[in-house]
Each structure stands twice: as structure tokens, then as C-alpha cells.
């Protein structure tokens, strides 16, 4: 019923089906993540250039993560406080896994509006979020920009206290990455 030759043919067909899909994966290991925190009369930004992950245009899947210990705010002491707050020893990553809600035309040259929906996980708590941004094809690469906000309470993170003021619970997150064909 399933001669050896047929199995081989089936297997190669599956492989050939998978290979073109692989050719539509764009990824990075050096994307930028920024979050902006607000305290009364002051804001500060934390930045990491270690955003890793990829978008698969074939099936619209999106998967990114960043090592939270790479976030820097410009003041070492504040970085350490942030790592303590996020408990990065136990929960080192912020992760997003989801799908593109919009279609992307790789032939178009301008920035295209994009929306993704999926699971954002930080501090070992996952929430479904929707983020908006743009995707823009530039040569063999795609520029990805996305923005959304997270509420620290939703992720069971107690906002750190600076002297007598507390950091705002709502943090603005921005992602900017140049994705290369993989």
C-alpha cells in the first residue's frame, strides 16, 4: 500500500513544500527595544539592542524575545533596580509569539501598516495583546516598527519606587528592527 518509493516521493514533496516557506522568514538578533517610564516631572528610557526573533511571511507567524538583563537606562543603579523588579534571575525574557493580522506585500516599497496579535509574556505572566506598527521592505530586508503599552500590574510587576515617587504603571514599548532574510 505504501511502497518504499512512494514514501520517498511523499517525503521529498513535503520537504520541497517546506523550503519555499523557509525562504520567507526574516529575522534579527540585534533589534532594538525601548520602553519609556514616567515618574512625576521626569521620564526615562530603557533600551536593548538584543531583540531576537523572526517573522514568517508564509504563515504570518511572529516570534520575538529579548533578554531583559540587556536593558539599559543610562544609569547602572537604575538598571539593577529594574532587573530586581522584573526578577530577571528567574524570568529573563520578554517574549511575543503571535500572528500578523494584516497582509504584507513584499513587492511594495513603502511602509505598510501592520498589526499583530498574540501572547506577550514577561515576569512569567502571559497576556494576549494587539500591537500596531509598520513593515517596510528595503532590499532583502524588512524594517519592522511596532508600538504598544503594557500595564505592569497586568504582569504582576510592582512598579519600582524612586525615593518617594513611584514609576507609572503604564509603560510605552517600542520595537525597531531590521530583519534579514534567513
Amino acid at each position: 500500500m505504501f511502497p518504499k518509493r512512494r514514501i520517498q516521493v511523499l517525503f521529498f514533496l513535503l520537504l520541497f513544500t517546506a523550503i519555499p516557506a523557509q525562504a520567507q522568514r526574516y529575522g534579527t538578533e540585534t533589534g532594538r527595544v525601548e520602553f519609556t517610564s514616567r515618574v512625576p516631572l521626569h521620564t526615562f528610557t530603557g533600551t536593548s539592542d538584543h531583540l531576537s526573533g523572526e517573522i514568517d511571511l508564509a504563515d504570518g507567524s511572529v516570534d520575538f524575545f529579548v533578554d531583559l538583563e540587556t536593558l539599559q537606562t543610562g544609569i547602572g543603579r537604575r538598571d539593577r533596580d529594574m532587573r530586581e523588579t522584573l526578577e530577571t534571575d528567574s524570568f529573563p525574557f520578554a517574549e511575543f509569539t503571535g500572528r500578523l493580522l494584516t497582509t504584507f506585500n513584499p513587492q511594495a516599497s513603502g511602509a505598510q501598516q501592520a498589526r499583530v496579535q498574540g501572547s506577550f509574556k514577561i515576569h512569567n505572566v502571559s497576556r494576549t495583546i494587539t500591537a500596531s506598527g509598520t513593515l517596510q521592505k528595503t532590499g532583502n530586508q524588512i524594517r519592522m516598527i511596532a508600538n504598544w503599552e503594557i500595564n505592569l500590574k497586568d504582569y504582576e510587576i510592582t512598579p519600582p519606587r524612586l525615593l518617594v515617587v513611584r514609576v507609572n504603571e503604564v509603560q510605552a514599548v517600542r520595537v525597531n528592527a531590521l530583519l534579514s532574510l534567513r
Binding site: M1, I7, A18, D67, E69, G76, L162, L163
Partner: protein
């Protein structure tokens, strides 16, 4: 048999396909260094192994009042002559910082530097944090018979520390101080045999009580020859970490904030009650 193989391939493919899209989670630094061995770049009056990150500027105001033995009449030393060192340190890299400061006692200007040799790693692969610190200072007290070179003094230390747990850090620091001129007028009975070069083993500890509060202790016993009338520096205190600031409040047997003065000039004996109230404010700015 072939049907089983076909089914097996299909199952394997189905299992493998969803994970194909999952990017492997990899730590940027799988063995991160241990942080906050000490809350501030100084324990109380001597340097700690704690490094200043690149691009950070730390402003310090070290203030040691007069002896609390002055009693209520002198408001426990608050009315007496205080030593104040105001300084700034800048993290040039994550491994190297440089700084300048000015002390009221001896009207002394100093430049200093700290080089982190290696950092303790959380996985135990490097069990210690080690740094080298050094400074050069020049007094500007008025004196017609002192050449510039006579005004210079130097201090150096090998800082070896370990964080034993989430709470306890201990530092041992072989130290040396050299003064081209020993200031005899600081000793109560004068210095009969001034020593220009003095060695010591600096001992320091930090016990973290909470994320904001730590207890500090520092003892700097001189080993070998020393100037008559000098005493080992001893201090205890608390560090309050508010995020942007670290406030250190202390009781100290020494008014000095520069190592060669602490080693070679201190005449106050903590254990005899020669104790001063003091504080240090550390404020970090990002450049």
C-alpha cells in the same frame, strides 16, 4: 511495516512543524556577573570593588563631623570642625572609572581611578570580584617652605571581594599609602617617628537588610611601621538606596575620605570613643 513508517514520518513532521517557527531563547550573557557587592563605590571611607558603569557620573559628598565626645555643648560634634570631601567619578568604561575630589582637611585635591580586573559570576565560575584602585593627592595648605613635590601623597589598594549570599558581601583590601610629607600637626602629641609609607589590610562588609537598607562595617588595621599617635580607622554605618541616591550614615573613628590619610594620619581611636557622626551622599547621573 511501511504504513507504520509513513505514519511515524507524518507524526514527526507534525510535531516538528510548530516548533520550526519558535526561535530558541538564548541568554545574551549566560553567566551574568554578581551585582551590588556594595551599594556604593566606597564602603565608608575606603574604596569598594563596586564599579561605576560606563557613562555614569557619581557625585559624592562625604561629610564627617567632629567627635561626638564634644557632648551637648558642641551638639555631639556637629559644631566642631568637619572634614568634607566633594568629588565626582566618571565611568569611562564598565571596567574603568576616574575621579577628582577636594577635601577640607589639609585643603587637599585628589585624582583617583579604579580598574575592575574581573567580576564575580553568579554561576561560581569566577568566585571573587577584584579591582585595583589608586589615587594621587596634593595639599594646598599655605606653607612657604614646601615644594610641590612635598605636597604630594599617594594611595593604592587591591580590592578583593565576594558576595557570599543575597545579603552578605565581604571585602579584603591590602592597601598602601605614601605621603611625601607627614603632617605632624594632626597628632595630639606630635609625631615622634613619622612614617611616610604605611601598609594596611582594609576589611569591609555589607549586610543587606532589605532592597533599600544595608548595614556597613569597615576596619583598616595598619600592618608594619606606622607614625606615632595614629590609630586604626574603624567605622560602622547604614546605606539607604533610594534608586538614584545612596545615602550612607555612619559613625567613624576617622574623619578622612582619602586612603593615605586614613592609613597614615588618623589619630582617632574608635574603641576609645573617638567617634564622629558622618554621612556620604552618592548621586548617579547618566551622561
Amino acid at each position: 511495516m511501511t504504513l507504520r513508517r509513513a505514519l511515524l514520518f507524518t507524526v514527526l513532521l507534525l510535531v516538528a512543524m510548530p516548533t520550526w517557527g519558535q526561535v530558541e531563547r538564548v541568554r545574551a550573557d549566560p553567566h551574568p556577573p554578581v551585582e551590588d557587592l556594595f551599594k556604593a563605590p566606597t564602603i565608608i571611607s575606603t574604596q569598594s570593588v563596586t564599579a561605576l558603569p560606563a557613562g555614569n557620573l557619581n557625585v559624592t559628598i562625604h561629610h564627617a563631623f567632629a567627635s561626638i565626645g564634644a557632648g551637648t555643648g558642641g551638639l555631639f560634634g556637629l559644631d566642631g570642625p568637619a572634614n568634607i570631601r566633594i568629588g565626582i567619578d566618571v565611568g569611562v568604561t564598565d571596567w574603568l572609572s576616574v575621579g577628582v575630589g577636594r577635601s577640607r582637611f589639609d585643603r587637599q585635591y585628589d585624582i583617583r581611578s579604579k580598574l575592575t580586573v574581573f567580576r564575580q559570576r553568579a554561576n561560581g565560575s569566577i568566585p571573587l570580584q577584584v579591582a585595583l584602585s589608586g589615587n594621587a593627592a596634593a595639599t594646598t595648605v599655605h606653607s612657604d617652605d614646601m615644594d610641590f613635590v612635598d605636597r604630594l601623597s599617594y594611595g593604592g589598594a587591591l580590592l578583593i571581594a565576594r558576595r557570599f549570599s543575597d545579603r552578605l558581601s565581604v571585602q579584603v583590601a591590602p592597601m598602601v599609602g605614601h605621603a611625601n610629607t607627614v603632617f605632624v600637626q594632626r597628632a595630639p602629641n606630635g609625631l615622634l617617628t613619622p612614617e611616610n609609607t604605611v601598609f594596611a589590610i582594609g576589611l569591609g562588609a555589607q549586610l543587606q537588610v532589605s532592597s533599600y537598607l544595608s548595614l556597613l562595617a569597615e576596619y583598616v588595621p595598619v600592618v608594619g611601621p606606622r607614625s606615632d599617635g595614629t590609630a586604626n580607622a574603624m567605622a560602622v554605618g547604614v546605606a539607604i538606596d533610594t534608586g538614584g541616591h545612596v545615602f550612607q550614615l555612619f559613625l567613624s573613628g576617622s574623619p578622612y575620605a582619602v586612603e593615605q590619610q586614613t592609613l597614615g594620619q588618623n589619630s582617632d581611636n574608635f574603641f576609645d570613643g573617638d567617634i564622629r557622626l558622618g554621612f556620604t551622599v552618592n548621586r548617579v547621573f547618566g551622561l
